[in-house]
């Protein structure tokens, strides 16, 4: 895979996923190396918000710190943040988190679009986004904005996705920098710096 100079200034990676993406993430996490030079935010759609165990499920899969993003928390390299259930996760210009209880977007809260859009303005070309499997197109509009801010755009190869709608939607809407199969994702992330 061509890791050109473009990726040398990346500070933040936002990963968005819906149906079929949890399995991919669970497969990637054990292969992430420490130290990691970027911060990672994972925005996942989920059904059951009353009992949200995603952090407990994912944290043991990685040697890196993995935690739920908290409001006003500073975003630090080497940490994996999960968007909490039932809130949109916004990124401020000073690289801290805000939570937002506003309307669902694309029937989702957290919505991937919302996080990527605010990250695009706060990080510009220091942002990379990766859109995984999903049965809707949340994330695509946000990625277009990220693209306009010169962020690095990556998707899971649609043919490898359980639900290709989401990565496919991105692929027909903009030029994609990286099309990745699940077994290539960890290397892509480890090389970001």
């Amino acid at each position: 895979m061509a890791q050109d100079n473009l990726e040398k200034k990346i500070k933040l990676l936002v990963i968005g996923g819906s149906a079929g993406s949890l399995r991919v993430i669970v497969g990637v996490l054990p292969h992430l190396l420490s130290p990691l030079h970027v911060a990672i935010i994972i925005v996942l759609h989920r059904k059951n918000t009353h009992e949200d165990l995603l952090t407990e499920v994912l944290a043991p899969k990685t040697i890196l710190q993995l935690k739920e993003a908290e409001e006003k928390e500073a975003i630090l390299p080497g940490v994996i943040y999960l968007a909490p259930a039932d809130y949109h996760l916004l990124i401020e210009n000073d690289h801290t988190f805000s939570l937002d209880a506003s309307e669902k977007i694309n029937f989702s809260r957290p919505s991937i679009d919302t996080t990527i859009e605010s990250a695009a303005y706060a990080y510009g070309d220091g942002l990379a986004c990766l859109l995984l499997s999903g049965a809707n197109t949340d994330g695509v509009a946000g990625m277009k904005i990220a693209k306009s801010q010169n962020a690095v755009i990556a998707i899971q190869a649609p043919q490898s996705a359980e639900m290709p709608t989401m990565p496919y939607g991105a692929s027909i809407s903009m030029a994609i920098d990286h099309v990745l199969f699940p077994n290539e994702i960890a290397e892509f992330i480890n090389n970001l710096s």
Binding site: H50, E71, Y87, L90, E92, S98, D100, S102, Y121
Partner: protein
């Protein structure tokens, strides 16, 4: 939002306009959320430039109402986070019951779903008749809705689920009358509520309460403003009074935390100790 981008500088100008002309101070609000809300208003009302939006705000005092409506986030639910209500019912209300008269303040009450949830719980605990709930918000329009106690019938399925998940076995539908796609809550609930505008940024304490509920409001404030509001709540609480915040909000890093004790791990309810 796609197609609209309000720059940092433009956002500051809009915030300054609202302050200078109308006295509404949003300068300590989270910028990422404010930007989204202004961009949303811009799209819905079909502006062609930020200058045009600014001009309308600056020159049309009637439009201010709409601006406040749109830039505040008013999304709410009945019995949102059922375990929170379960804890209130089982661990807070029995302690409030010892008072002759119970005063509760819902700050940032929005359209009132939270307030009616509280009134229903007080009713079930036989406490409603000796309680008074103050429901306040910065946004007058949502309080008009709250006063009516009428909510979309389509929401009742989810609210009933939340209500049951909060640990009760009564028939939720007894509490409202269904008509023309709306659920109108029984008048006894609204009778014990005073609805009034109150701006947490600029207005003072107005009473002493045994319980203050302020959920999903502070997430929109920066740390400085959060601390000021915590001070306001501290000044407005009786000794041994309770402060309830949203599931993702905390008193932990505030200056007043020393004066409070967390009621129980995992729930965002604190009790004032002095």
């Amino acid at each position: 939002m796609l197609g609209v981008y309000i720059s940092d500088d433009e956002l500051e100008l809009l915030i300054t306009d609202l302050h200078d002309i109308y006295g509404y101070d949003f300068s300590d609000y989270s910028r990422a959320s404010l930007r989204r809300r202004f961009e949303r208003l811009y799209s819905i009302d079909k502006y062609l430039s930020v200058a045009e939006l600014r001009y309308r705000i600056r020159t049309d005092a009637d439009y201010l109402k709409r601006v406040i409506e749109e830039i505040t986030v008013n999304v709410t639910e009945m019995f949102r986070d059922p375990t929170f209500y379960k804890t209130l019912r089982e661990e807070v209300l029995p302690l409030l019951a010892t008072h002759h008269f119970i005063r509760i303040w819902h700050a940032g009450a929005s359209t009132g779903e939270e307030v009616y949830s509280m009134a229903i719980m007080l009713h079930e605990a036989n406490l409603l008749n000796k309680s008074l709930i103050y429901a306040t918000d910065i946004n007058p329009s949502v309080l008009e809705t709250a006063r009516k106690g009428i909510f979309p019938l389509t929401k009742m399925k989810q609210y009933t689920e939340n209500y049951i998940a909060s640990g009760v076995q009564r028939d939720f539908s007894n509490y409202y009358a269904a008509k023309y796609g709306h659920a109108k809550f029984n008048e006894e609930f609204g009778k014990r509520v005073i609805f009034s505008t109150h701006n947490l940024v600029s207005d003072q304490t107005f009473n002493e309460f045994q319980l203050i509920v302020c959920r999903n409001v502070l997430i929109y404030f920066d740390k400085v403003l959060q601390d000021r509001v915590f001070q306001l709540f501290n000044d407005s609480l009786d000794t041994f009074g309770f402060l309830a915040l949203g599931t993702k909000e905390t008193l932990k890093f505030s200056k007043v935390v020393k004066e409070f004790k967390l009621l129980k791990p995992g729930e965002k309810i604190w009790r004032k100790t002095i």
